[in-house]
Symmetry: C2
Subunit: 237 residues, 2 copies
């Protein structure tokens, strides 16, 4: 069945179809698979497919995408359509997407997602694990957890350390504090440079007050450097 | 102190020094830091620095590198020097490096490391966690654990699932079995394509019998696409 095929392969199949065939094929995907596939397609194909769906259905699909991918799709729709769909999306998710739409596409802010795990420094690793078990399921990329107090970024801890360190220690005791960060208005070449130089899986984006705004993940940088085949025609890099 | 600076920054400083200054500066680093810094330098600088050290000291540094990085350094040394140093390295580590040296540099085999975590399908997640706690400390990149029986690759599990799933379940029950793999003689462009297309953190390299030979990690692909500043001059891509 279609569920057995990887979304990246489905996107490649869709890219080879005529606009009419695409519509029929995409309509047969369940919502999860449609959401995962959409990100892999060229922006103009995304916009066509979404425009052809009814608004409620389009909102259902976009709601299931990570907010950074959803924002990329929304940004390519005609303004009216975009606003209609945003109005139908669950409030918190719509808010996340709206925030991301405020950043220029080719900046760190334009690449980042605002879906990440952040915890206060005072809780123990045992408590962190418990919260992680509740919250990690829904999040796309959980390579690191961020330690944040009054919105300010204090440190970071990886999943390996979360497993290896003594669970009675506090996050503040075990977190790494030598952080590589980037500002939201930095360009995407600077993002790629930092992720490459320091071998990072994710790079935190902060404002002038060192408040955490989001993270850029390494797969987005790989896509910048080597866009997927189905999207290659439109990309500039 | 020097230990406060990231190895990638130390490499950048070293790249800006004269050969004489380099030697003095590199000699002041402790063995761990020297090992981490070496990988970030241009191949010719690596070879110069290693050639200037006495053999025992060079072997101590190389022993501390992940085997794929150690193999890259060894491959650029004069044959005699390379063999002397390999002879002084702990047997198991030297064996790992020797195996990697058998692959062409610009293939999946040339990019892979043979340092990864692999477990049989019959053990529980609780047992896996226990083994992980013993073995993960020394390994550079533990994004996934591989499930292997009689050397054959059966499945993969990420750290997130290891934490989230019921610890009484077996690895065989929770592992992902739809695997993306590559052959050791595939070229590095094919490696980059697969890692990009399927958003992987690591790609398993297998032989014709589907036996696991090693893994290529996403940071190596980023380095291929965007070599670090200190190595940029020499690289072909």
């Amino acid at each position: 069945a279609l569920a057995e095929i990887h979304p990246a392969d489905i996107a490649q199949i869709i890219s080879g179809l005529s606009p009419e065939e695409r519509k029929g094929f995409f309509g047969k995907l369940d919502l999860e698979m449609a959401a995962e596939t959409l990100h892999e397609l060229e922006p103009e194909v995304q916009a066509d497919l979404i425009s052809d769906m009814d608004k409620e259905q389009a909102a259902d699909v976009i709601e299931r995408m990570p907010p950074d991918e959803a924002a990329d799709v929304i940004a390519d729709l005609p303004l009216e359509k975009a606003q209609e769909i945003l109005g139908l999306i669950e409030k918190e998710e719509a808010q996340d997407i709206h925030e991301l739409l405020g950043h220029e596409e080719d900046t760190a802010g334009g690449l980042m997602t605002n879906e990440y795990l952040a915890y206060p420094p005072g809780i123990t690793l045992a408590e962190t694990l418990e919260r992680f078990r509740k919250e990690a399921e829904e999040i796309e990329a959980v390579y690191y957890m961020y330690v944040v107090e009054e919105e300010k970024l204090l440190g970071v801890i990886g999943l390996r350390d979360l497993i290896l360190e003594d669970p009675s220690k506090s996050l503040g005791e075990v977190m790494h504090t030598k952080l590589i960060t980037i500002r939201a208005d930095a360009n995407q070449e600077q993002v790629a440079e930092l992720i490459s130089k320091y071998n990072l899986l994710a790079l935190p984006v902060v404002d002038d007050e060192n408040c955490l705004l989001g993270i850029v993940t390494v797969d987005d940088v790989v896509d910048l450097l080597l866009p997927p085949a189905s999207r290659r025609r439109r990309r500039r890099m």
